[in-house]
Symmetry: D2
Subunit: 390 residues, 4 copies
């Protein structure tokens, strides 16, 4: 019998549901050396938290997230709350010796993120692991892309083109959910979805962004306050209105430290785009393209091959060449969004068992946070090129 890995999760909305799915399934698919057990979920409202525990398969529920820190049967604290509580929970958990998986973006400010990194660094010395949930790294096609790039597919990278387009704010009467409030979410499209494409771009190139010229915009400046429960993503508005305090869209162009040029566009106002996260990389030897809505496909181009028969090849990333897809089904039996969380949690559990540091680390997430900061500085400075702090 394998030893268990006790999980305490904080938050049970969209991300809490998705993480629960991952904890529920990771063992059957990847059998990490430690067998995860869903011990306790923490939330604000006792009834809703208890109902979530029952539905999502957690043994217990609590309204006191701090209670997780003193339990012997909780080894991991999995943080699925809005960004404004990440720092407090993560630092406390790390100090209590709990491994931490934290949703992205790491924090709502660079200062908070730096404190979290400090806590993670201190805890690491005691064998306490920490990781940030940039799940798109665990799309099999993205993981395969990273392998191919490591093997030299691209050569010197010339261009990165990244986008994350959604349209769920198109309706001006959509309510002022917490994701539209700076004090809770830190920023809007920028931190919520822009952070993903920054991380993926940096992950794929094993490089970081040097600086950016940016522009942000809020198309709808006032929205009705939510009339009911606020899950951040849906709901209806009431009669009173409040100010939208985050960006609806963020565009930026920049340079990588390698010299590659990069463009990023994150928006919640691209009509018809549901979850159109995509990235293209063009290098001296090849290129690749990925679009999440067709997440099982990676398009690769070998620029060194005969142009007569060259082009972009649609690779269906279900062959097991990446670290994940082989654990599931035969080729062509495609995976979906929630599988990426199973992969993420498998890697996290494996790192804990192996005593290694999982990725993306808090440091890597801080690097994303600093890009967000540079974007906001540049946008405030009318596009002037702002260096990313390091």
């Amino acid at each position: 019998m394998r030893p268990t890995l006790g999980i305490g999760m904080v938050g049970h909305a969209f991300m809490g549901r998705t993480h629960s799915h991952a904890w529920r399934n990771v063992d059957a698919v990847f059998q990490p050396a430690l067998r995860p057990r869903r011990v306790v979920v923490a939330g604000r409202d006792p009834d809703r938290t208890a109902a979530a525990a029952e539905r999502l398969g957690w043994d217990e529920s609590t309204t006191d997230w701090r209670s997780l820190l003193t339990r012997d049967d909780v080894d991991v604290v999995d943080i699925c709350t809005p960004g404004d509580s990440h720092a407090e929970i993560a630092i406390a958990a790390l100090e209590a010796g709990k491994h931490v998986l934290c949703e992205k973006p790491l924090a709502n400010s660079v200062a908070e993120a730096e404190e979290m990194v400090a806590a993670a660094t201190a805890a690491r010395a005691d064998g306490v692991r920490s990781m940030v949930a940039f799940n798109y790294r665990r799309v099999p096609a993205i993981a395969l892309a990273r392998q191919l790039i490591d093997d030299g597919l691209l050569g010197e990278v010339h261009h990165i083109r990244a986008r994350y387009l959604q349209d769920w704010l198109l309706d001006p009467e959509f309510p002022l959910a917490w994701r539209l409030q700076k004090e809770h979410a830190g920023s809007g499209a920028l931190g919520d979805i822009g952070a993903h494409i920054i991380d993926v771009a940096q992950f794929l190139t094993a490089d970081t962004i040097e600086g950016v010229s940016a522009m942000t915009h809020t198309f709808v400046e006032q929205r009705p306050l939510p009339s009911g429960a606020d899950d951040g993503l849906s709901g209806t508005g009431g009669e009173e209105y409040g100010d939208v305090t985050v960006d609806d869209a963020a565009l930026f162009i920049g340079r990588m430290h390698s010299g590659a040029l990069a463009s990023f566009e994150a928006t919640r106002f691209a009509a018809g785009a549901k979850n159109d996260m995509g990235i293209e990389l063009y290098g001296s030897k090849g290129a690749l393209r990925f679009a999440f809505e067709d997440m099982n496909e990676l398009w690769i181009h070998d620029a060194t091959a005969d142009p007569a028969t060259g082009g972009f090849t649609r690779v269906l990333a279900t062959e097991g060449a990446d670290p994940y897809s082989g654990a599931w089904y035969p080729p062509g039996h495609v995976l979906g969004y929630d599988h990426t969380f199973v992969h993420e949690i498998a890697d996290f559990a494996r790192a804990i068992a192996d005593g290694t540091d999982p990725h993306p680390s808090f440091d890597e997430a801080l690097s994303v946070q600093r890009v967000l900061d540079a974007v906001e500085r540049s946008a405030s400075a009318k596009g002037a090129y702002e260096l990313v702090d390091s």
Copy 2:
């Protein structure tokens, strides 16, 4: 507390794993009135069955599938074995008053399938439910297609074009797995994957096939016998060879009772096609196209709209307009192969709780079986049009 629904599953290979995934997740997503419990899994080899139980999350394992029939804590027998044992297990389970979910194809012959229908019919009188696992009906895009057709999207159907293309037998040294042996599998590509597209075509049109002209072929007539465990889908061959006794490919054209023309092609020799199940329907008022490798997309055409701006619309079936996708994630957060099994099992569990008959019933699966039979008769008769029995 909701009452439980005790599940006993027979078989733990590819389908057993996938059904286990579905039983594991259905409650968190769909919360049927009866809460499924994975009670016991039956297999041939005690060690491998015990290991599967541990991995897939079943409370117990057994090598005696008949023991399931007498257990009070087993309400459902879920049959995930090769086709040659379906009839025996299903009939015994139904007679024992257990609800039965049976993998497809229903049986290896029309005669067996008819006996199974008789058993299902008798059991139905006692409130015992039976269903066949044609999971492609539960792809959200397919379910949405059915709704749109019911609402009149197509008008009179003129053409059905269905395909199921795979390439896993391309290597002539791939072993003679049980799926290539008539006594275990009944037929080859025809019954394994052709059955799916027959069912989907009949499901979408709410019509049945009148008759067919067919052709089947075995490209590689002898293959090495499997050298190790035989899961039907993979493995390596030994030094001895045996005869392939099933088809590698089956092509047929036919007519629906409505008069629509239909073409079907199922093969395991389409190089580069991994799981390319697809269907196109063309009618007097519109058309639709679906391809499983992009399973979240349904392409629809409204032939009554202005041709200037008409065409095929890519509908991303994640909006919750179908019966399934709304239970998962926000729009654009795509689903995968295994979600179809969660949907299937949700519908099955719901039917048991509601006291209604789930679909596809054994009768519907018998209708597919009769098409398989007509295909084989026509292929033997050099393509002569053979009527499907009714």
Copy 3:
């Protein structure tokens, strides 16, 4: 100064316009050794023929196609009339020593086609050239496909899947144009568009069809007689109705002499399909896919490559690897439908200048005609496998 090649064209509707375009442009792009001159166009109606000559750039017009045969300044007779006049014109022209380019299908019956072949064979002895206008062979992507197949891309061919889907007859009030009348067109979708995919399948594989099981259907059995000029493809209907005497759709499955399985579907009732001619070939070593509506793209799969990064590669056939695209524009500057006719006519003019026999020859077109005949025989025999005569 290069010598001229005098052209006399018979017919000036859709194909006449397209051939005129080709004769007008071939010299600027391909500069054949003989410089084509558009000498005279023949038609039925003097005014409409004169107008066509003026518009399409022919020096003269006539209502007497036989007058072309005795003119010294006419070297080529280009036949763009409906199929019922092909044999008479072609045979007379060949006997008069004129090179002949004839639109497809070659004839309305095998008997006629055989007479035409006899005439072509006799004329060939005197250096008189003949060719049939199966223009899809001259799509750069198709020509490239043929080269790649010759170089071994596919290995042994297992499957051919060909389709030609249109929807212009969907409206039951579309008039009974000549293309719907057996005495003029020979057959319906079968000979008009089915002939193209038969030719392309035979061309690409350098093989011929052994036999077929077929089904044809006429969805709308009576249509209004055309109220005005009948170009075969458009117009409005009057008050009187007549019988549609050709097929609206033809489906057939068959075997190539090599043993490959093949399926074909030609229809004018596929709602939303405008000119969806497509072909897929699957072999032991690779595969390819082509769809005319994206005619600059050829999709190829190398089954011998690493499956981890394998898949279908989208080759944009504008690199000049085929015999045609290099004469036009830089890579990526895509070509269209009418370019295929320029290519066809360039090859034809080149063959005349070189004293070689152009392809497809009348013999090759007869082979297509015999497939059409076998399809009709099989359809009459309820799908029984009918051998193609040879």
Copy 4:
């Protein structure tokens, strides 16, 4: 008999060939009231110019472009030379009372472009017409898009995303052709292909760019001098090297006067992209997407329709709803790159005959030139937002 429109063309390389094609075909397809006659082509080298005249079908050739201005049989001067001679030729021609069609970009600097506009304005008073050859406006799908936008498809525009990706400079040994020399080409990717997407973005939205934050880059700073004739697009390099004085890539983000956000990326270093010009527009009521390599397709989204069946519709722009495609072939018979020039010239000839001013005018092209200037200013100012002059 219609009166003729005598054409004198200056330059006979890539654009000269393409314009010749258009002048050769426009009459057969669009029959403008004035019948174009290819009178004379001017070039530098007498032999090469004479050969081009013969090949491309011009009556005469000359090495003195000024001789065109005094000929009575020349009504139009068509300028197909590099940008450094546009101003001189265009102004002289306009002053001589000749209608002028000028290739893009209009000039190599704003100052030159302003002089050209002044000359065009003066000439316009005398009925002399002028137009700039931004041919992408004449892609049927783009023209259709403009109509749909005029009809309200988009509502208020939120986002424009435009790209023009090529890869022909990827090889560092590609020679230093004139397109890489600032004194001849004005700029690199920016003016050559960036100008196209600026024009299309402004055309489609009937709006102009207010300001930009930009970044340009030259990846390969020295290249071999061309060893032979320099057509600007191909050739081989010699042993000596020279400095590349233009950008290889230009990225910029900006705002339209309407408030819409816009991003642009033009590069000759996107491996695998041949002529990937594309634009996406997202508005409050709908969206559209276009990619030139699939130039017959326009993708439109109606955000006001039922989301259950909504999405992007692939409109095949061959139905004749746009001003061009109906003149060619039946639906689905796709057009190519050179058809856009036929359309452009048809509109130009029509405007001359009608006595109206064709578009894009020199003023509109000046507006593009001013954007190019703002991009260069911003790039020099490290991305600071620079207003476009007006």
